[in-house]
């Protein structure tokens, strides 16, 4: 009994000493700035900054490779904290959120075929370009939901992705997961958007969707500054969007909406 205790204790002592020496001898010097930056970051490892995770970004900022205002989940608070650590002045980026520019759910947009396979938009997209006739419409199989680290996306019963604007941090991971680029980033302050992603001609769009943009340019006539129409699809000009809301009532296809204040139906 005593021999066993002495033996194990001895091994423990030797190992502890060896580890202690190794820890001193092979210690990796960490830039105190980097450690401070890492502590100030939100630690969600979303990858929005372009680095694999928060520690990578902390190192990049400490070494001056990346700007301190590239962390969307951290927002204004983190940017200011980082600027204080570095002792520099940084312009805080305007917060942006993802917007799903499609309203063509199962009831409004036609399907090419009935899809029965894997619940994954990228898999469905490979089968004859996806089950929706519209080449840009939301497939609603939830690839973005699985990509979102913040639980900000849900899928409606009509198979459309919906973004919770309070939870969305603007990390853009959903944009990367979507095979149809049906999400765009827009300033959080702007709530009027053209909710369509089809560049087909108006006649084509009418054949497959009851709520798609037909490129009629009425919105542009009402608010010339606030809208641009390119390839039969209107877009809100986010730098001059003050008058955008004026066109909501006039859009014949009802695809311009104020997403923060949905119409009472």
């Amino acid at each position: 009994m005593l021999a066993a205790v002495a033996c194990l204790g001895g091994i423990g002592l030797v190992a502890a000493t060896a580890l202690g020496i190794a820890a001193k001898k092979f210690a990796v010097e960490v830039d105190p700035k980097e450690a401070a930056i890492l502590a100030a970051l939100p630690g969600v490892n979303c990858g929005a900054c372009g680095e694999p995770g928060c520690s990578g970004y902390a190192r990049a900022v400490a070494e001056g490779r990346l700007a301190p205002n590239l962390c969307p989940p951290g927002g204004q608070q983190t940017t200011e904290a980082l600027a204080a650590i570095l002792g520099i002045k940084v312009t805080v980026k305007e917060p942006a959120v993802a917007v799903v520019i499609c309203q063509g759910g199962d009831d409004l947009a036609r399907q090419k075929y009935h899809y029965l396979g894997l619940e994954d938009c990228n898999a469905a997209q490979k089968l004859a370009g996806g089950p929706k006739v519209c080449p840009g419409g939301c497939l609603g199989l939830g690839s973005c939901v699985r990509a979102c680290l913040f639980g900000a996306i849900t899928i409606t019963a009509d198979h459309l992705a919906v973004i919770d604007r309070d939870k969305c941090t603007g990390c853009e991971q959903c944009l990367k997961a979507c095979p149809r680029q049906v999400m765009i980033m827009a300033p959080k302050a702007i709530t009027t958007h053209v909710l369509c992603n089809s560049h087909d001609k108006g006649g084509e769009v009418r054949k497959y969707c009851q709520i798609g943009c037909i490129g009629c340019s009425i919105c542009k006539k009402i608010a010339p500054e606030a809208y641009t129409v390119e390839k039969f699809l209107a877009r809100v000009n986010y730098t001059q969007a003050d008058d955008a809301a004026l066109a909501i009532a006039k859009c014949p296809m009802k695809c311009i909406r104020d997403i923060a204040h949905p119409p009472v139906s």
Partner: protein, 438 residues
């Protein structure tokens, strides 16, 4: 005596009785033929006609581009009325030549009869490429490529595939019964090109009449008829080689790496016609079947005939169709339009009714191992599908996902109705992309 086979596999209901006893019927020409320029694996053919041009049956309308490509020919005589993108079995519109038949069925004058005994293997290979011969089992791989093994890989077994293991399909079965002599002639031409002595014609033993017929026809030839037990996918290339020769095609390698070449019986018949009569591949046997059509039958169809025309010839749809599949139910492609034409690889047109389609929602994997048991390649489909769900591309590669032949046994067997093949296909694409990048 125990018949040779491969490990794994399944026994789906074969549903062949509806068409197996019916003789092949020639399908009348439709109002217009849509002949796509891509009907084979490899580069699409390049269109060589113009709108308004009169073409004769068998006249070349698309030239082969590069070595892995074959020529395309007019399936009948008539006028080219359009050259445009039309619906294609792959699911998106692809370039096609649209021909309005004149009803004369006038063969092209330049087509020549040949004597295979007077031609060298190289001349015969070139002739096959010009005649547009591809594997008619469904894969449509250009035949002349398969018949050109590099010098360091000697071929010592030519296996002729008369297995037809896909449920519902009976085209090859009928072909063996009705045109057995043409098949035998084609096989002899193939064995001449490859210079092999060991020639085996494999037939599943649910086609005893075909085995009898072919045995009689092969009596004075080096061809040995080998019955095989009924099991899906017995007709898959690698499984067939394993059953016949006992050799496994190494992972990531081709059949020629273990000294074997496999050709379908339909291909053999087409080779005989192409060589002896000089007639290119412009028609094929297609089984139109399933409870969704009124009178299922085997049709001899001109390439380019729209599916709607086939269904019309078979008495129309019996009910609102639930699923329309080109090929067999296990590996065929579901179609969303009847404007799609028959192409060289169209072995069958299967129409299923709504009540025959399973629309169960996939459940969680219960780790029962059924998919592992039935996998003819000895893969672990459930593990690879898990890798696919988690996006573990490199991990999936270590489980040899790329060796999957997409036969569908695992999906068929899965009690949780998981779409395993689709998951594996997804991760296979991701692995290929990963390999291209690194």
């Amino acid at each position: 005596m125990k018949l040779p086979t491969f490990p794994g596999g399944i026994h789906p209901p074969d549903n062949k009785a509806t068409t197996a006893a019916k003789a092949i019927v020639a399908c009348p020409l439709p109002g217009e033929l849509i002949v796509p320029m891509l009907q084979h694996i490899g580069a699409p053919a390049e269109c060589s006609v113009t709108v308004g041009q009169q073409v004769a049956k068998g006249e070349q309308i698309g030239t082969a581009v590069g070595p892995v490509s074959v020529a395309i020919h007019a399936p009948t005589s008539g006028e080219v009325i359009a050259i445009e993108s039309r619906p294609h079995p792959v699911g998106r519109p692809l370039p096609a030549v649209v021909i309005r038949p004149d009803g004369d069925e006038r063969w092209h004058e330049e087509l020549q009869e040949n004597d295979p005994d007077r031609q060298s293997p190289d001349e015969l290979r070139q002739l096959l490429q010009q005649a547009g011969i591809v594997g008619l089992g469904g894969a449509t791989f250009p035949t002349h490529i398969k018949l050109s093994p590099p010098a360091d890989r000697p071929i010592n077994a030519l296996i002729i595939n008369g297995v037809e293991c896909e449920p519902y399909l009976t085209g090859d079965h009928r072909l063996m019964l009705e045109q057995g002599a043409t098949i035998v002639d084609g096989i002899l031409i193939l064995s001449k090109i490859l210079a092999v002595d060991r020639v085996i014609l494999a037939i599943e033993d649910n086609k005893l009449d075909a085995i009898d017929t072919m045995r009689k026809l092969c009596a004075d030839t080096p061809i040995k008829v080998q019955p095989l037990p009924v099991k899906y996918p017995q007709g898959a290339e690698k499984q067939l080689i394993e059953a016949i020769t006992g050799r496994q095609v190494p992972s990531g390698k081709l059949p020629m790496d273990c000294g074997a070449v496999v050709q379908n019986v339909g291909t053999a018949a087409a080779i005989s016609v192409a060589v002896r009569q000089g007639r290119p591949l412009v028609e094929r046997i297609t089984t139109v079947t399933g409870s969704g059509v009124r009178t299922p039958q085997n049709l001899k169809v001109a390439i380019g005939t729209p599916l709607a025309h086939l269904i019309e010839q078979c008495g129309g749809l019996s009910d609102d169709p639930g699923k329309i599949i080109l090929g067999g139910p296990m590996m065929g492609n579901t179609q969303m339009s009847l404007e799609v034409p028959v192409i060289r690889g169209t072995s069958g047109l299967l129409v299923l009714r709504h009540q025959e389609i399973s629309i169960k929602k996939p459940g969680p994997c219960i780790r029962c191992g059924q998919c592992v048991k039935v996998c003819p390649i000895h893969l672990q489909p459930t593990v690879i599908a898990l890798c696919a769900r988690l996006g573990l591309v490199e991990k999936a590669d270590t489980y040899n996902a790329l060796d999957c032949i997409e036969c569908g046994c695992c999906t068929y067997q899965c009690p949780a109705t998981l779409p395993l093949v689709q998951s594996i296909r997804e991760i296979k694409g991701a692995i290929m992309e990963h390999k291209r990048k690194h």
